[in-house]
Symmetry: C2
Subunit: 473 residues, 2 copies
């Protein structure tokens, strides 16, 4: 059994060498991409491009070897072809480098046995040279606090959600989905084949990492099953851990092996393992972000009872079904609460004073605030959800609808500040071009006010159901 290591050094290097940066414009150079990404992202330390042909890039010299670099090198990103990697490891060891991220692929994940041999070779040389390896066959690290990114366009806001990912594409998607919805990251690790540092190492590290409050993970399999299980158990006792475990089908498991050498394992075994931890299992990257958003923005609920309010009879039926299916209870409104609603509105005609509450038309901002105030006082519910059904307003024009929905969203932002109950907003049914654009703008605005926003009835229900179940354990 390996011992837990503090991996802080991976995320805060003072200098990075990038092997495989080409200055020849006609050639697509992955090394150049990493160089440009770090430059654009604003990495504050030293960046050293490396290529045996030498030359210059943006006025800076390209070093022919890592050994030629004048200053110290903490970290290397390798984008050179696989056959040249053993030499790179030896040069790195000679230079006193602490870690190498191999973007390079063509190792354990390909069918050719040479790939597996080469992978064993570089890992052995790295171990001998005291170097830790990220990958190979991965996009590497995103850490806004350390100025690290594999994409210059990623959001630069540092947050407190970490992600371990056995897919660079899914990591990129998670970063985009999270940051566009107000969820920011401490550390994201695209770990590829995990030939040295693997999912267990990262899980153990993140459990202790004070910059990380929530851990998410996209997993195709685990290389050290028992160790990973223990790591997951400890991690999920310490902080919320949200998992997307894939490769559950035969074809999915086969794809996982070709992708990152991961042995998916039987889904029954995984279900059994996960049930012995507090980890929360989800079905997609978006659902993982949904649950993380609840933990990020909502206080712990006392139970699983929720009261829902918004506009639309058909929407209310859909909400009631979805929330019930997700294991949440919709308590009937108390007589006190019904009386209060009857005071606020002249009549129930066109409205439904059950749970979910259909306000139809709420008439004035004051009345809307009064309703939310009354619901906040409704002690039979542990949580509150407000929903907006964008394309459900049948009779009014797109223009009126935009004005009206904008007003409603503004009121929600204002009202949210005074609520004591854990509250969420569900924006749903935005299909038309204008409502889709409005819903996305609105979601970003609400998110910026620290509100957990879900983009469909079923995803809102699933996320809040999982959130409540976690707190019931």
């Amino acid at each position: 059994m390996k011992k837990t290591e503090n991996l802080d050094f991976l995320f805060h290097p003072r200098s990075i060498a990038i092997a495989g940066v080409s200055d020849r414009a006609e050639k697509f150079s992955f090394g150049l991409k990493f160089f440009e990404a770090l430059t654009q992202f604003g990495f504050a330390g030293k960046l050293y491009p490396v290529n045996p042909t030498g030359g210059k890039i943006n006025g800076a010299a390209i070093y022919k070897s890592v050994k030629d670099i004048p200053g110290e090198v903490d970290f290397i990103i390798s984008a050179i072809p696989a056959p040249f990697t053993p030499q790179l490891v030896d040069d790195a060891a000679a230079k006193g480098v602490r870690a190498i991220h191999f973007f390079t692929s063509g190792f354990g994940e390909i069918e050719d046995a040479d790939g597996k041999r080469l992978q064993a070779e570089i890992i052995a040389r790295a171990e001998k040279g005291g170097i830790r390896v990220v990958g190979p066959n991965c996009l590497g690290l995103y850490c806004p606090a350390g100025g690290l990114s594999f994409n210059g366009d990623f959001d630069k806001t540092a947050g407190r959600v970490a992600m371990i990912s056995q897919s660079g594409g899914n990591a990129a998607h998670c970063i985009h989905d999270g940051t566009s919805r107000g969820l920011y990251f401490s550390k994201v690790i695209s770990m590829g084949n995990g030939a040295d540092l693997n999912e267990a190492d990262y899980m153990e590290y993140l459990t202790r990492d004070t910059e990380t409050k929530i851990i998410t993970a996209y997993l195709e399999g685990a290389r050290e099953g028992e160790r990973f299980f223990r790591a997951l158990q400890s991690a999920s006792e310490a902080k919320p851990v949200i998992i997307l475990k894939v490769g559950t089908s035969g074809p999915g498991a086969q794809a996982a092996v070709s992708h990152t050498t991961a042995l998916a394992g039987s889904d029954q075994i995984w279900e059994g393992v996960l049930s012995q931890t507090r980890a929360i299992r989800t079905g997609s990257i978006e659902e993982m972000v949904d649950v993380a958003l609840a933990f990020e923005h909502m206080p712990a609920p006392a139970g699983n009872r929720i009261v829902i309010v918004g506009i639309g009879g058909g929407a209310s039926v859909l909400l009631a079904d979805a929330f019930s299916l997700a294991g949440l209870e919709l308590p009937p409104l108390s007589d006190v609460l019904r009386r209060r609603l009857m005071e606020i509105f002249p009549s129930e005609a066109g409205r439904i004073f059950k749970n979910p509450i259909d306000l139809n038309h709420f008439e004035t901002p004051e009345k809307f605030f009064s309703v939310l105030g009354a619901l906040d006082q409704f002690h039979e519910a542990d949580m509150l959800a407000v929903h907006v059904a964008f394309d459900h307003f049948g009779l009014i024009s797109s223009q009126e609808k935009e004005f009206w929905v904008d007003t409603f969203l503004e009121l929600i932002c204002q009202a949210k500040k005074n609520l004591k109950k854990p509250a969420a907003v569900i924006l749903h049914s935005f299909s038309s071009a204008s409502m889709n654009a409005l819903a996305h703008r609105a979601a970003r605005k609400l998110a910026a006010s620290g509100i957990a926003v879900f983009p469909s009835v079923s995803r809102g229900a699933l996320a809040l159901g999982r959130f409540a179940r976690y707190h019931a354990k």
Copy 2:
């Protein structure tokens, strides 16, 4: 048992009177909304606004009573308060009107017994006067071919999908979702309480309607259970029928009663009933549109075997799981096909030549066309899906990504023309603002070329799984 009636007259009136049109600017008038919607939508027949206070609207006279209208009146839309509706029915009977749509609510759906009495009253008077009733408590009819709409902004394209909806909001959402994705409608009926014409009447009518090729329905319950079951059985033998049956939970069933008086019935009974028909059950409005799109744009597949191609290793694993879960088979690539792929590309490094196929970088349009051509010839698969994972491209900038994805989508449009296999496109993982906008633009463009496009891995899998299962029956 009522006898089936040809309801064409509902959808092609030559003249419509709207009761409850107010010209007073300070008063929100639902009648005025219907008047404006029909005007904007381009209803070609005569429109007569009615209000006991008289006046003028857009220069046209407001009639004090239906009886004062000089010409014939085929159809009335009522937006007057419930207590005045019995008189309206009598006036309509005197005028020889054939049908009334009651937008008016405050009938069977409210808790007050007076509502139920009033509903029985208007239905009795209508029957006596030879008038059929749509509603009450609903948005009514959308029929582009007849110039009918309850919203002037709806798409004016006539299509061949019908919808029966026990919710106006969900009908509006379905119309927006469908038309924005290239699915157009013959007739949409928001039917409310269904006090006279109910879901069985509409289902029987649409079964025979030559303008309708696909029937969709949002159902909270059925008023004449046995008759509806027989209607559904016949309808689903005649054409694809896609159902969203809600009120499956206790709270959902209660909401349904308050919404449109529908008794939801036990979900087990519904499952049993549906299993004796060819109707396809879905879980949301969007999923209903997904399945309808497959029927609209794809020829019948010979079986449930699908080959998937696109870019991204992590995406491939997600696709494999979701498609397997949805009951689709992913046959392994034949040796012939693998050899063909090896001819097209120099190496499998970075690619995965399994099913799903990960092309990573397809290098040239010619190579992409060659791949699709080879897959079209792959006889172990009955269907083909191409996927685009928008936010998965980790290393390239948003700008490059836009250019690149646009090119890819253009190629898909071109390639689709030559494919013989039923083929679909899955656009997924678009979270960043730029990719979300691009994905929606792309979806509309592909849809305009007659391609079935699904906006997530799981929804694509579900829709194609349901589509294949229907054809296997």
